[in-house]
Amino acid sequence: MDILYLLIPLSLLLVALIVAGAVWAVLNGQFDDLDSPAHRILEDKGNE
């Protein structure tokens, strides 16, 4: 079971990455408007 001593720090690293990603997404406003994109996909043409 010694492998756990490697896997636990790895899992902690993963968690740190997840949290960092989530924080980045929230502070970047990715969650501010959850409605527009859902509607935009129904439009026939892209915006640009």
Binding site: M1, V23, V26, D32, D35, H39
Partner: protein
């Protein structure tokens, strides 16, 4: 005194912005790029958004545009050197979607940042909590199948390290709230939460450090995550309803329309006004500064100064006071003193809607909950002490279980969730609730008072027939009538403009010397002939005779308008305001439910008689002034009746303020709507029935929720005190109970049609 048409009294929409005002709505993004947000009305589908975006992209100087389909706000980035904000707004208007520059309200900014914070806390709690949970599983198995001490201790330390951020960051709002409660000596529901968290965490750390006891890190993580999620949902509901209310505002509250030296209207910030400025005040707007009326005749609501909501008549030359409300018709005011601060703050306060504010039932639930919390704290302490004496190894688990299992969430959630769900359902059906408590007040109501024009009727009169004297034909009379009414704001004017479009022989004429007498008629000149259009009384006073010159008698119940030319009456127009399609069905249903119906109107008794007859209302009163309407409602209330007022006009405003519950139609002015309890945005009277149904359903749900919460606690607390509930089970029990309560409330959100009588609910 007469006023010049059309610039002064109808020019509000086309006015530009003063530089200082425009500055408030734009955000400089570098040398030539500027960002602004506009609130757009008229969007009904994704197609509209597509149309707006593609059509406006062609406007030179506009770099980027994006429209949010839910909040109906457009974000534009443009070059401010070649394009002005009002130019963009007028482009929106030109393609059929009127837009107003939008500045987020303080409330909204606060909710937005709270929401980001809450999301962060949830994410941290979820990500770390998952790891803690995994470690807990390993430890459970270790307990059962054996695990070496080093590994166990390592896992426990890792779990502790992961729980620290949850306690410090994610659970922080609970600690803050509990501290606030303590400072104010209140027993809020965050106190047991914080106690349970602290006790559980300290106990676990103690155990981790090698002393006796259990660890509860996974219970802590789960508990925090569930509580955060519940609060996030509540916050989202609040954000949605606030957005819906703010979107209805068509005008900018603290903005005045000032006429510059050439008589051109410009929109300015209230704080820019100085003595000597001339400002236009539309009906329904707040009078923004002290001053003297230069033209226009109206009534003002000065209740802010006198406390009396009875309208005060205002004539040209009369004084108006900042902070009062213009009720009847547009006026031109010469400002005598700059807008005082209190008036400005009052305007802003009015615009900050009454969204917050707990309902009475919720307040009562909170009070009950606070006693309940004190009782739980006492019980937990008792249980802890008794277990300490009898079996010291278990006392911590029992205390935590008791605190967690009894978490009064269910009790506190019982009422607000039901209201949030009910309001959400109403919003989806085109009924915007402005205040929560009306759902409580509406249950005791026994009378419904209707206004006529615009409420029971469509408010869009149509021209039914034209009688002319010898030598005049229909098209000729219609041409002149419509030309006189070309820029007028009266609902009848609309009817003439619609009629001239349909008559191929009629066309707009050049009108000279145009002047209006508010509420009576309009004067002007066609070529060298003096012409006038107006009510029977106005034309009668002007030329002496009205109906006698026509051979045919007008049909009963129609509104009449007369055209005079060179001192004699030449044409009579019959106008008719059709009943709304659903009016009869609604009045019938309300009668069936046992409500007393009343129709109060300022229109002629004849017209009122006809509409009341069609709608089946026996208790009807015509030719009533806003004052008499107010008195009537007051009398009803003095007799112990509880009244719903359904109205639309600014002249209904006093009555609306007095009623137990007021419902206004969507086209009412901003101010009337802000004062009412609910707005029927879709303009369908069936909304009233729906509101009543939802109110009764809400009450039933609240009762169910409260009895569930009480029953659950009566059962769970004794079990926890006797040590029958381990902490993890307590956390599950608590959250299940909260979920059941919220889920039950969400049933309100589902729209199922089931007409119900009042007695049966």
């Amino acid at each position: 005194m007469v006023a010049k048409y059309p610039e002064i009294l109808s020019g509000g929409e086309v006015a530009g912005f003063s530089p200082a005002l425009a500055e408030r709505y734009i955000e400089r993004q570098g040398e030539n790029r500027t960002r602004a947000v506009l609130s757009v009305s008229g969007i009904s589908c994704g197609g509209c958004i597509r149309r707006i975006e593609s059509q406006l992209m062609d406007v030179p100087g506009l770099c980027m545009i994006s429209v949010n389909p839910v909040s109906h706000r457009a974000t534009v980035v443009f070059d401010h050197r070649s394009l002005a904000l009002e130019k963009i707004a007028s482009q929106f208007e030109a393609i059929g979607y009127p837009a107003t520059p939008y500045q987020p309200r303080e409330q909204e900014v606060r909710i937005e940042s709270e929401r980001r914070q809450a999301l962060l806390r949830i994410m941290v709690a979820a990500a770390l909590g998952m790891q803690v949970m995994m470690i807990a599983t390993a430890l459970y198995f270790g307990e059962a199948y054996g695990m070496n001490d080093v590994l166990r201790t390592t896992l426990e330390y890792v779990a502790m390290a992961l729980t620290v951020p949850i306690m410090v960051f994610s659970a922080r709002p609970f600690f803050e709230q509990a501290w606030k409660n303590l400072k104010h000596r209140q027993a809020g529901m965050d106190i047991p939460v914080v106690l349970a968290l602290t006790v559980a965490f300290c106990g676990s750390v103690w155990a981790t450090l090698g002393h006796a006891g259990q660890i509860y890190y996974e219970s802590i993580a789960m508990f925090v995550l569930l509580l955060l999620c519940a609060r996030f949902l509540e916050l989202s509901a609040r954000r949605r309803s606030l957005g819906a209310v703010l979107n209805m505002e068509k005008s900018i509250p603290d903005c005045a329309i000032r006429l510059d030296a050439d008589g051109e209207p410009v929109r300015v910030d209230v704080r820019e006004l100085v003595a000597g400025d001339r400002i236009v005040i539309q009906p329904g707007d707040i009078i923004l500064a002290d001053g003297k009326i230069e033209s226009g005749r109206t009534a003002a609501d000065e209740s802010v100064l006198t406390g009396e909501s009875r309208p005060v008549e205002k004539e040209p030359g009369g004084q108006v006071v900042a902070g009062s409300v213009n009720l009847e018709s547009p006026i031109l005011v010469r400002v005598s003193a700059a807008a005082p601060d209190f008036a400005v703050s009052r305007i802003l306060r009015l615009a900050e809607t009454a969204q917050s504010g707990k309902t009475r039932t919720a307040l009562m639930a909170d009070r009950v909950a606070s006693y309940f919390i004190l009782a739980v704290l006492a019980l937990a302490a008792t249980a802890g002490v008794s277990w300490w004496i009898s079996d010291p190894s278990l006392w911590l688990a029992v205390v935590i279980s008791t605190l967690v299992v009894a978490c009064p969430c269910a009790l506190s959630l019982a009422t607000p969730t039901a209201f949030v769900a009910a309001m959400g359902r109403l919003s989806r059906r085109g009924i915007v609730p402005m205040k929560g408590e009306f759902l409580e007040n509406i249950r005791s109501v026994d009378h419904v008072v209707f206004d006529k024009t615009g409420t029971l009727t469509t408010g869009r009169p149509r021209l039914k027939s034209v009688d002319t004297v010898q030598g005049w034909d229909r098209s000729e009379a219609l041409s002149i009538a419509a030309s006189l009414n070309r820029h007028a704001r009266h609902p009848f004017a609309e009817a003439f403009r619609a009629a001239i479009e349909e008559d191929r022989h009629a066309d707009y004429r050049e009108i000279g010397d145009l002047s209006a007498r508010t509420g009576s008629g309009i004067l002007g000149k066609v070529g060298r002939d003096r012409v006038a259009i107006g009510s029977a009384r106005f034309i009668g006073e002007l030329v002496g005779e009205t109906d006698r010159v026509f051979s045919r008698k007008p049909e009963k119940g129609r509104s009449l308008c007369y055209l005079a030319c060179e001192g004699r009456t030449v044409a009579r127009f019959e106008l008719d305001d059709a009943l709304r399609d659903d009016a009869r069905a609604v009045t019938g249903q309300l009668k069936g439910m046992g409500y007393g119906l009343v129709l109060l109107s300022g229109d002629s008794c004849d017209a009122v008689e006809r509409v009341a007859g069609e709608a089946g209302i026996d208790d009807r009163h015509g030719e009533m002034s806003p004052n008499e309407k107010l008195e009537y409602v007051r009398r009803l209330r003095d007799d112990g009746r509880r009244v719903i007022v359904v109205g639309d006009g600014i002249n209904d405003a006093p009555m609306v303020a007095l009623a137990d519950v007021s419902i206004t139609m969507g086209q009412a002015s901003d101010l009337t709507r802000l004062h009412s309890d609910a707005v029927l945005l879709n303009g369908r009277l069936t909304g009233i029935i729906e509101v009543l149904e939802v109110a009764w359903k809400t009450r039933r749900i609240i009762r169910q929720n409260l009895s569930w919460a009480l029953g659950y606690n009566l059962l769970a607390i004794p079990c926890a005190m006797f040590g029958l509930v381990p902490p993890w089970l307590a956390a599950i029990g608590m959250s299940t109970s909260s979920l059941i309560v919220s889920g039950n409330a969400m049933r309100l959100g589902r729209a199922r049609r089931s007409p119900r009588s009042r007695a049966g609910a």
